[in-house]
Amino acid sequence: MIRFTHVSKTFPNGTGALRDLSFHIPRGQFVFLTGHSGAGKSTILSLLYAHDRPSSGEVKISGYTVGALRASEVPKLRRRLGVIFQDFRLLEHRTAEENVAFALEVTGARRDTISPRTMRALTRVGLAGKARAYPKELSGGEQQRVAIARAIVNDPPIVLADEPTGNLDERARNGVFQLLKDIHAGGTVVIMATHDMDLVRDTPYRIVELREGELVYDSAVDEADDTP
């Protein structure tokens, strides 16, 4: 499903964000991406949704090779992903409902299905009551949940979540995490960048840890090593 092969990323200003990174995420996995601030978590995700291209190495996702993507293929790839951005990236001039509906409209979904699917997604994140509010009328956590609803509204096969619980209180955080777990249970690959050690500790899911752009720990590999 997703494969990084000796991937490095150096930004134009000289910052080396990723160094010689290789890993594979098969169909149906739930992966935590951890590491200190600036370790390269968001950079990995931005390669996956083809916002950036690797400086060297190869990034493959759902059959596409990110470095060699033609302009017309970028939207196709993105429609197969649900992305929760660290800074939300909501359209300021649209209500919560319109922001979520937009992700469906873009894919050319049937008009009569758009409204019910949008409301279902908002309900799942506990925001049905704020459907008509504009982003600036929402609290930080409410904006984050709109972003989550938008990412999951068209049932994508892969969900990329960048710090989806940073602005949430304990209860909302558990709700969102449960939501991602449910989605994963339906067969979706979920990659979640997070600092939240409470979530990561004792998790049955795979953990990938970065430090200064290098992979320093991968529970899948290390557990495999541990078994005799």
Binding site: S72, P75, R78, L91, H93, V106, T107
Partner: protein, 289 residues
């Protein structure tokens, strides 16, 4: 499609200020073009008034019998270039000279014999009112036996030709300059709108919108603004026209407004400008978002 229209509608009403301002700017630039067009049209109109005066005069030998002249007049009237022929007798010529040439009034009053010859004044059809055609007619008139001399105010006709050409060139140059200004303004307006919404566009693309999807509402919006701007420009031109005409006491005949097809052209020009402007600036900007 319905979504696109909603998009256009929304984007208009979410930035009503920006949207109306850009329409006003388009209107102002087309208004400039329109004003110039009006001046040009009416200048041309005035010129054709002047051109009507282009005539060829054939002076006759003293003592030509009136029958010969009548016959010849009919021949000349049959020339394809000729609109009308007017006979001026020797007495009429003297009477006219007394009225028109004030400085010489007294001189003529003292005269015992009339020194002025009779003449035929020939007016040309509108399409033949230029130096070359007047010369051709003059040559043909010289062939008549009773014709002493032919004049067609060559200088005057040629000067008129030159003014006409110059007016055409100046009109084209200034019109083109203003058109350029309009295109630049429209391009800038839309470019600013795109800049203003750069964040929004980038988010749309991150969510999976194709370039065509992102571009469409901009193109429609640009076109709509162009049309609205053109219509507004037309309205302002008309208001100016009425104001000027009534202020100057000019009648609708000597001072004309655009014909319906010219009016349509202005609006169509607005549409085209809006479309081209948005095509260029959206296309260029999207590459950088």
């Amino acid at each position: 499609m319905r979504l696109t229209w909603r998009e256009v509608w929304h984007s208009f009403w979410r930035t009503p200020l920006l949207s109306s301002l850009s329409i006003i700017m388009i209107a102002f630039s087309l208004y400039s073009v329109g004003l110039f067009g009006l001046v040009a049209t009416n200048f041309r109109h005035t010129l054709s008034d002047l051109a009507e005066r282009v005539e060829v005069v054939a002076f006759m030998l003293r003592g030509t019998p009136i029958e010969t002249i009548t016959l010849a007049s009919e021949d000349i009237e049959a020339f394809p270039e000729v609109l009308s022929v007017n006979y001026v007798s020797e007495d009429e010529a003297l009477a006219r000279a007394r009225v028109e040439l004030v400085e010489f009034r007294e001189a003529y009053e003292d005269l015992a014999t009339n020194p002025l010859p009779a003449s035929l004044e020939i007016r040309l059809r509108p399409q033949f009112r230029n130096a070359a055609q007047a010369r051709t007619v003059a040559e043909r008139l010289r062939a008549f036996g009773f014709v002493d001399d032919v004049r067609f105010g060559q200088d005057w006709v040629e000067r008129l030709d030159r003014i006409r050409n110059l007016a055409g060139i100046v009109g084209l140059v200034i019109g083109a300059a203003f058109g350029l200004v309009a295109i630049v303004i429209i391009g800038v307006t839309i470019r600013m709108t795109v800049l203003h919404r750069a964040r929004e566009i980038s988010i749309m693309r991150l969510v999976g919108a194709t370039n065509a999807f992102v571009r469409r509402p901009f193109l429609i919006e640009g076109t709509l603004r162009g049309v609205l701007g053109g219509a507004l420009a037309l309205g302002m031109s008309f208001a100016s026209y009425r104001l000027f005409a009534s202020g100057m006491g000019l009648s609708g005949e000597s001072f004309v407004f655009f014909t319906p097809s010219q009016a349509g052209l202005i609006v169509g020009f607005g549409l085209l400008l809006g479309l081209i402007g948005s095509l260029i600036s959206v296309g260029r900007h999207l590459r950088h978002v």
